[in-house]
């Protein structure tokens, strides 16, 4: 079980490293709706194929942004919890 978990972790990490991050949006310290609105605006300005990294420390938005992005037609590459109330979300623009 533990080995499997570790495997999953390393897999994810190596996979993330393969992706070139085009831009980073730092939303730490922001509460809703700022992370949601900012990421929506940012994504609209980016070109297809580019990857946006979103750093966030607000739980509601961390759960909601991936859903919003999916409904906008973009691909959510990963949602990683990086620490206490900290998340890193990777979005590929379609």
């Amino acid at each position: 079980m533990i080995i499997q978990k570790l495997n999953n972790k390393t897999k994810k990490k190596s996979w993330i490293n393969m992706v070139d991050i085009t831009d980073t949006l730092d939303c730490t310290g922001d509460v809703c709706p700022y992370p949601d609105v900012k990421s929506k605006r940012k994504v609209k300005k980016m070109k297809p194929g580019e990857v946006l990294e979103i750093l966030i420390d607000y739980p509601l938005s961390a759960e909601r942004i991936p859903e919003t992005m999916k409904s906008m037609g973009h691909e959510v590459l990963s949602v990683d919890k990086t620490g206490d109330s900290s998340w890193k979300i990777l979005i590929q623009i379609k």
Binding site: D30, V31, P33, P59, L60, E63, S85
Partner: protein
């Protein structure tokens, strides 16, 4: 009410309330604002379902003679002005009265500043420079009117139970049933028991769980104190406890309970972190938002919890009007703050291109 009873019952009910608020990310500011801003309806659905549960809950215990219903008297001017200002304030403060309180327990400095603003605004209005303004607004008093005429101790609970049950059935038919059907078609199990612990303590709750849980805990709160649970009064109570020799009462312990419960919930879920907004001006905005909320709450005889989650289930016309104007104020402020500029941007670009 006995001090020890207030302490124990207030802390326990407050803590469970805080736990639910944090797990469900239950904030009416997000609920109302995001209908307009993000076309996101989950929290709004949670509010509606909690209202239906509260209607049925209050009515049952009113029939049993355990609680006395007491809808707010209808003060139209106070309801409109107070609700509108409260709604604008909560967008600036980035959280309604309950949302702000539970985020204090999550470690958000901005929300703490907003809570201080809320207390200050409320005190100024209850007995301070804004006292006269509030009295003038509250001058017109039309008595305890409900949606179905004058308040009546036997007839009103009957209406409450009818509206509540019809509401629950409609919600199940339109929101619940399609979701269950979808799960059946996908052959997913209805409840995943093996993830129960993680789903309860580590993840955000589904909207319907949050809504039902809020309905149950606030019914328990009404039973324990024979009155609606309030937030603004609680903060005022705490400030009096700090500054005068008054001992703390029920409402203040509820606030401490909420902060404690939300802290525990956030800590267990790995979501507690001391957070400060990057932009210092955000704190100023949140403080001003808090002040506006405080004025609105005292003028409208209650914040969003007292009026929407306490008064609307009793079908009080006053609370329904307050609730409607909280939503209008919230949309107005959200539009001006977040959408107006965005609407204009493309036009400006076009002009430049020309």
């Amino acid at each position: 009410m006995d001090f020890w009873y207030a302490l124990v019952a207030g802390l326990i009910i407050g803590a469970i309330f805080g736990f639910i608020l944090q797990r469900g990310r239950f904030c009416m500011n997000s609920a109302f604002r995001d209908i307009l801003l993000l076309k996101e309806y989950k929290l709004a659905k949670a509010v509606t379902i909690s209202l239906a549960v509260l209607m049925v809950g209050f009515a049952i215990f009113a029939f049993g003679g355990i609680i006395d219903l007491n809808p707010r008297p209808f003060k139209p001017l106070a309801a409109i002005v107070g609700g509108l200002i409260f709604g604008i304030g909560m967008v600036l403060a980035a959280g309604c009265a309950s949302g702000t309180t539970y985020r204090v327990g999550e470690g958000m400095l901005g929300s703490f500043v907003a809570a201080i603003g809320l207390t200050g605004g409320a005190l100024m209005t209850a007995a301070g420079p804004l006292f006269e303004a509030k009295n003038t607004l509250q001058d017109i008093d039309l008595g305890q009117i409900t949606l179905f005429g004058e308040f009546d101790t036997t007839l009103t609970p009957v209406w409450m139970i009818i509206v509540g049950i019809v509401g629950l059935v409609l919600m199940f038919y339109f929101w619940g049933w399609p979701a269950i059907k979808k799960k059946r078609e996908a052959n997913e199990p209805m409840i995943k028991m093996e993830n129960f612990k993680e789903a309860t303590f580590k993840k955000g709750w589904p909207w319907w769980v949050t809504g039902i849980a809020i309905g149950i805990i606030l019914t328990a709160g009404y039973i324990a104190s024979n009155g609606v649970v309030g937030i603004t009064g609680g903060w005022m109570d705490i400030s009096q406890w700090f500054t005068t020799s008054n001992i703390m009462v029920w409402a203040g312990f509820i606030i401490f309970g909420i902060i404690l419960g939300s802290f525990l919930s956030a800590y267990i879920g790995g979501e507690f972190k001391f957070r400060v907004p990057k932009d210092g001006f955000t704190l100023v905005k949140q403080f001003i938002g808090g002040l506006l909320m405080g004025f609105g709450a005292v003028t409208a005889s209650g914040c969003n919890v007292t009026n929407i989650l306490g008064g609307v289930p009793q079908l009080s016309l006053h609370s329904i009007i307050v609730g409607a104007f909280i939503v209008i104020g919230c949309w107005l402020a959200a539009y001006l703050l977040f959408m107006w500029r965005e609407d204009r941007e493309p036009k400006e670009k076009k002009l430049k291109a020309e």
